[in-house]
């Protein structure tokens, strides 16, 4: 009788150990999130900087410890370190995370305050390249790229942007795509611009979404 009980106990223990080993050996779930906000400061879009602050505040309120946030701007040539306004990977301690969030917000506020002259050109591809590099470096489980721009790319002649962009597993969200004056004359151009970017993003492996009203951002984009 005792032997049988012992046998059962051993079998049960072996089962529990095997289950624990299987669970332990499984691929760990990556729950971290990373977001990058690209702000267009060209002359056509520079007036929308406040929208960028609103979006950043929303992201700061939603991101938690272990998540990453980067903020960059699009100007004549955007694929440089100077285009990054702020970046932070939030600490695992909530108290430090709160401090980092305050710092990020302060950096963006300082950038908006000292901003004076809009850029002549808008190198959106360069900004996207910069953001995708940042997002891929974070190795986060969920990656979001928010673009605040009219999506009208106006490259200087010396820039070569005919390179492939790796947007694999990145959700690109065009926020507040401002309609230009010439879009009023020809709405088809606006649609074509959006469709062109969608095609580019999807061909690069990313997902494309457009949210024009920031008030609907929370319902449209769920940061899981």
């Amino acid at each position: 009788m005792g032997g049988r009980v012992c046998g059962w106990a051993l079998r049960l223990a072996a089962g529990i150990l095997s289950a624990a080993a299987l669970t332990g050996c499984g691929e760990p779930v990556n729950n971290s999130r990373a977001a990058f906000v690209l702000i267009d400061i060209s002359s056509d879009y520079a007036g929308e900087l406040q929208k960028a602050q609103t979006l950043t505040n929303y992201l700061l309120a939603n991101l938690e410890s272990g998540d990453s946030l980067g903020i960059g701007f699009i100007d004549n040539s955007s694929f440089t370190e100077r285009n990054i306004i702020a970046r932070a990977t939030f600490d695992h301690r909530p108290s430090v995370t709160t401090r980092q969030k305050r710092e990020v917000r302060a950096q963006l506020d300082a950038f908006v305050q000292r901003f004076r002259v809009p850029s002549h050109h808008s190198d959106i591809t360069g900004g996207v390249l910069l953001a995708s590099d940042y997002l891929n470096e974070t190795k986060a489980g969920q990656r979001y790229l928010f673009i605040l721009s009219d999506l009208h790319e106006d490259l200087p002649p010396w820039l070569n942007r005919s390179v492939g962009v790796n947007l694999e597993a990145i959700e690109v969200i065009a926020v507040n795509v401002k309609r230009q004056r010439r879009d009023n004359n020809d709405p088809q151009a606006y649609r074509q611009r959006l469709a062109g970017w969608q095609q580019r993003v999807e061909e690069s492996g990313g997902q494309w979404r457009v949210v024009n009203d920031l008030a609907r951002l929370e319902s449209a984009v769920v940061l899981r």
Partner: protein
């Protein structure tokens, strides 16, 4: 494809259908005895199998019920033994505390009684003033004073002497009375002490009497359980079910307390183990908070076990007293440490929440408002963090009651389930039997035309046979046909009887 089959006999669908109908009815008529046998046989087989299955389930149910009864009686006996043991322990305490001092009490009583008796003797009244004294005085006063002056003087002297003596005697008597009253007055505390001592003795004796009655009651219950009487089993079942529901209710309340405790420490735990770390899809900080709560409950369990309030672990109960005491101290110390940690975590949670709130306000563009009474919830959380672990520690008591009563309740549930299953199987078998009978009759409806023809032929033959019998005195159906009919009827009758 199906329409092709329809037109196989003729291009006219009605004719073709009629031919098919005739063919089918003929085939059904020819296969009628076999079909009947198949249907009735299947019905009876299902019915028989269901009966066998129901009987097996009934036996199983009986076994489970007996086992439940044994378990219940064993638990009841154990509980009553404990209760009797506890009563004896109380009696022992009573005897050790009160009756051990009985010799002293007795001596005190005897001394008091002796003193009272002595005092009583001392208060014995002296003989009152002799009535002769008054008569002598009266006689002397009544004597005539007109005679010899010397005699008168002598008489006056005698009267004076007698009166003086009388006065002295009266004074002595009054003094003696006063002395007796004083002694009687002094006896009062002795009487009171005697009364108090007697009351004490009475209380002790009454207490012992009550304990003896309780023990008698427990012994009667124990005897009833030992004899495995139904009354005792019913009482134990009712008690177990009640205990189960009460324990469940308390455990649910404790679970809610645990949830509150969890939320109190989950956020600040992320400061220690990291807020970005996950085990599977669950935050490590959440798991750490849960572990802390579990450890607290376990420590409470060990503490109550070491204090012998609960008896979930026989190993702890069998340890010697010194070891148990050490274990209790260790468990209590760990519990206090954890409570202190929880209190600090709860306070930290408040600070973190405050910081987050400030950030949220600034992100929303609102001015940060300093709350005047912010310290009230802070202190509240601090105290709650310290108290909740101790409250959770007492979960061991309802847990023990739950575990013990769960066996009874599970047994009752299993018996109920088996009974329902048995009923369902019996019903299924009965229904299958009736269904087979219905199908036999339904089958006959399809072949009613050839059956009617057959009946007419039989009737014709029977009439012809009757006529022959009338002439020859014979004409019964064949033996085989009669036997078959009898068998069928007997089978149906047996099944109907069993169903009834």
């Amino acid at each position: 494809m199906s329409t092709d089959i329809l037109y196989i006999w003729s291009s006219s669908p009605a004719l073709s259908l009629a031919i098919w109908l005739v063919l089918i009815v003929t085939v059904l008529y020819l296969g009628r005895p076999h079909a009947h046998q198949l249907l009735r046989g299947t019905g009876r087989a299902v019915y028989g199998s269901a009966r066998v299955a129901a009987r097996s389930i009934r036996q199983l149910e009986q076994r489970v019920r007996e086992r439940n009864r044994d378990v219940l009686l064993a638990m009841g006996r154990e509980a009553t033994e404990k209760a009797i043991e506890r009563e004896f322990s109380r009696v022992h305490t009573l005897v050790a505390r009160d009756l051990s001092q009985y010799p002293k009490l007795h001596r005190k009583l005897a001394d008091t009684l002796q003193k009272v008796e002595a005092d009583y003797h001392a208060t014995t009244e002296d003989a009152p003033l002799a009535p002769a004294w008054a008569e002598v005085v009266d006689t002397l006063a009544a004597l005539p004073r007109s005679g010899d002056p010397a005699m008168v003087k002598i008489l006056d002297n005698i009267q004076e002497a007698v009166e003086t003596s009388h006065q002295q005697t009266l004074a002595a008597y009054q003094k003696s009375s006063n002395e007796r009253h004083r002694i009687l007055n002094a006896m009062q505390p002795a009487w009171r002490a005697l009364g108090t001592t007697m009351t004490k003795v009475q209380e002790t004796i009454t207490g012992l009497d009550e304990r003896a009655k309780t023990i008698d009651r427990h012994m009667a219950t124990y005897e009833s359980m030992r004899k495995a009487e139904d009354k005792a089993v019913h009482a134990l079942t009712a008690s177990s079910v009640t205990q189960f529901f009460i324990a469940s209710l308390v455990l649910v309340i404790a679970a809610f307390g645990g949830i509150i405790n969890f939320h109190l420490i989950a956020l600040p735990m992320s400061e220690m183990v990291g807020g970005a770390s996950y085990i599977g899809s669950v935050r490590t900080s959440d798991i750490a908070a849960l572990v802390i709560i579990m450890v607290e409950i376990t420590m409470g369990l060990f503490l109550l076990e070491a204090l012998q309030i609960t008896r979930l672990f026989p190993m702890i109960g069998s340890l010697d007293d010194r070891m148990r005491k050490r274990m209790a101290i260790a468990a209590f110390t760990i519990l206090v440490i954890f409570a202190a940690i929880e209190a600090s975590l709860a306070y930290m949670r408040d600070l973190l929440a405050l910081d987050r709130e400030a950030l949220a306000q600034s992100l929303a563009g609102a001015a940060i408002v300093e709350d005047k009474f912010r310290w009230v919830p802070s202190i509240g959380q601090l105290v709650l963090g310290f108290v909740l672990p101790f409250a959770l520690a007492f979960v061991a008591i309802p847990l023990e009651a739950f575990v013990h009563s769960l066996r009874t309740v599970l047994g009752l549930v299993v018996v109920g389930a088996l009974r329902t299953l048995r009923l369902a199987v019996r019903l299924g078998g009965g229904m299958a039997n009736h269904l087979s009978k219905m199908l036999v009759n339904l089958y006959d409806i399809f072949v009613m035309v050839p059956l009617s023809i057959e009946r007419l032929i039989k009737q014709y033959r029977a009439e012809a046979g009757q006529r022959r019998d009338d002439t020859a005195g014979e004409g019964r159906p064949s033996k085989a046909a009669r036997r078959r009919q009898r068998n069928d009827e007997a089978d149906d009758l047996a099944v109907d009887t069993r169903e009834a």
